[in-house]
């Protein structure tokens, strides 16, 4: 009995020592990978920051209105945001590789799934950014065109364009991520359809005169003389 207990304890001790002996080198490898990752991420972040500053991305972002949205969300500039993202993505990637070296059962599968998902996250972020840029550019163009043409309530046109492009970009990004595809599709159809129906009803009922005048103008039957300005040149 006593011998059995001692043998059991010895076996447990040996197992523990064996496990530690097996685990320690992996832990050291993990720490090394994480430290190398930290250095690599730091260097890559700096490199990206320098390249983005050189390409004057902040100016493009300011022009597109993306910087304003970032400031509203209390986020740093586009260059800083992207370089920090690159830093964290790289480092987290190295951390995950390091953790996978430990050989913990079940963890590797989750990590590889996460890695497979990363490109889709990037594409979704890119779609959102391009959508934001396009929405700001086109809504500003619409605002300027309607103000200069003397159209009443120019902001309505500007905001309508911005809203439609945002909805489109968000639904495309969610579609890319594969999140609730059916729900997103239905929601987009409902929002877009409702907006168009609302506009049609509003224009049809509330804007009969406006529609008539617009048609007359386009068909060249307007009785009202077009606004004339002195010749600029």
């Amino acid at each position: 009995m006593r011998v059995t207990i001692v043998q059991g304890l010895e076996q447990a001790y040996y197992n523990l020592v064996h496990m530690i002996a097996e685990f320690l080198p992996r832990l050291v490898v993990m720490v090394v990978i994480i430290l190398v990752g930290l250095v690599a991420a730091y260097l890559l972040g700096h490199l990206v920051r320098a390249v983005l500053r050189l390409t004057k991305l902040d100016r493009v972002s300011e022009d597109a209105g993306a910087s304003r949205v970032l400031r509203m969300a209390d986020l740093p500039s586009m260059t800083e945001l992207l370089s920090r993202s690159i830093f964290w993505i790289t480092w987290v990637g190295f951390i995950l590789i390091g953790v996978s070296v430990l050989g913990v059962a079940g963890l590797q599968e989750q990590i590889s799934r996460l890695f497979r998902f990363l490109p889709e996250v990037f594409i979704a972020m890119l779609i959102l950014f391009l959508g934001l840029v396009l929405a700001n550019f086109l809504s500003r163009a619409a605002l300027l065109a309607s103000v200069n043409a003397g159209i009443r309530s120019p902001k309505i046109w500007s905001w309508s364009i911005r809203f439609v492009i945002w909805i489109l970009a968000i639904s495309m990004a969610l579609e890319e991520l594969g999140l609730a595809r059916q729900t997103v599709l239905a929601a987009f159809s409902i929002v877009f359809g409702a907006s168009m129906l609302g506009l049609a009803i509003a224009f049809g009922l509330g804007g009969q005169d406006l529609a008539r005048r617009a048609l007359e103008r386009y068909l060249g039957n307007s009785t009202k003389e077009k606004y004339k300005e002195p010749q600029p040149l």
Binding site: E62, L144, A145, V147, N148, Y227, K228, P230, Q231, P232
Partner: protein
Amino acid sequence: MADETFLSDDLLRQLMSVGEVDLLVGILSHSSANTMRRAAHSVEKSLQQNFVRQRVAIISVDGGTAEDSDSDEHSGDGQPGNNSYSKGLNSLRTIHRITAGFNGAPSPGLALRTILSSSDLLRAKACAVVSPATSSTAPEWVANLLRPAFRDSFDFVAPLYSRHKFQGLLARNLLYPMTRALFGRRIRELYSDEWAFSSRLGSYCLNEDVWHEEPVRSRPEAWMGVSAITSDFRCCQVYLGEKPPPPDGAGPDLVEVLRQTVGNLFWLLETHEQSWMERKDSEPVPTFGPEHAVTAEPMEINRARMIEMFQTGVKELEPILKSILSNETLAGIQSVAALDQHSFRFSAELWVTMLYEFAASYHHSVINRDHLVQALVPLYRGKIYSFIEEYSDTSAREMEAASENLCLEFERQKPYLTEKWKAGVEVKS
């Protein structure tokens, strides 16, 4: 030396058959064949009367219209230079007519490049560019433009017109005073449909690598004028007469005009930065004929609509203007927009400060450059409203004195533009 690669085989054949000439007149248009034919005929008559002994060619740079397809103005017979127009009526020499056709409408820049290349290949000593509308109604303008370049060795000849006091207000309030203050030469009409140049300036411009640039494609004449000024070519002005109204009465869209002219001017500031920063004050250029003449017949202008569009613009475009202008200037414009019709005044000082801030913002690309120029449109309307209110009952002399004061204000504030130009981009929330 002309780059012949972009000239069509047909045009090269026509040029070779002509040989060498003393004078070349380019008619630059997207007009119909009939208009072009009338214009070429008028120009020919003027040349016959004024340049009897010179070898002359007329080149019509035609964008091509449906009407043109069966026109005899194209050398469709494969015998360029031998069509029914290649003849002289009273002159001692043959006046050649050349047609440069394009598939689709060529840009004014491409049309000018074609004229410059043709002039270079024909070794013309002087060349005039005219629009078909004015050359039909006032053919003597061609001779008036050519004379200083051909006989008096001037390199760039700008036109001068008489106009109604409330026409040409963009030139009077912005283009002329700003180009004068910055480039240092008092040339009133750098943005015009008629001008002339020497072979020296023509060759110089032809060799410049700018023909792909949009501002040069849309308004090449101002670039040519500014190149002449900044490279110290001899410039002069010649009085032509009353500028005729646009053929259809309405004229081009104001937004489009500002995009083409003001956008072009801001671009010229970038490309000739070194030159305008070094220049101080402005100098007059030799002028043939009266320097300015205005008429003052009653003219119907919808002033209420003009001020309304200014006020709406200032209100609705506030976020855009905020990114272009300094806080003080924007506040100044907003206070002007708050005035009623009777007390409305847009001061020269504010106008100049605002324009210089627009130019600096264009340089720093604080927003899309095309959008930036479009944002100027309502503010221009405000200034023009103020100008009309202020000078509706004044004499031409008083109006001219006010314009001179505006020019001096542009010159006075030039250091402000230099300072803003050199400053870094200010990112505003």
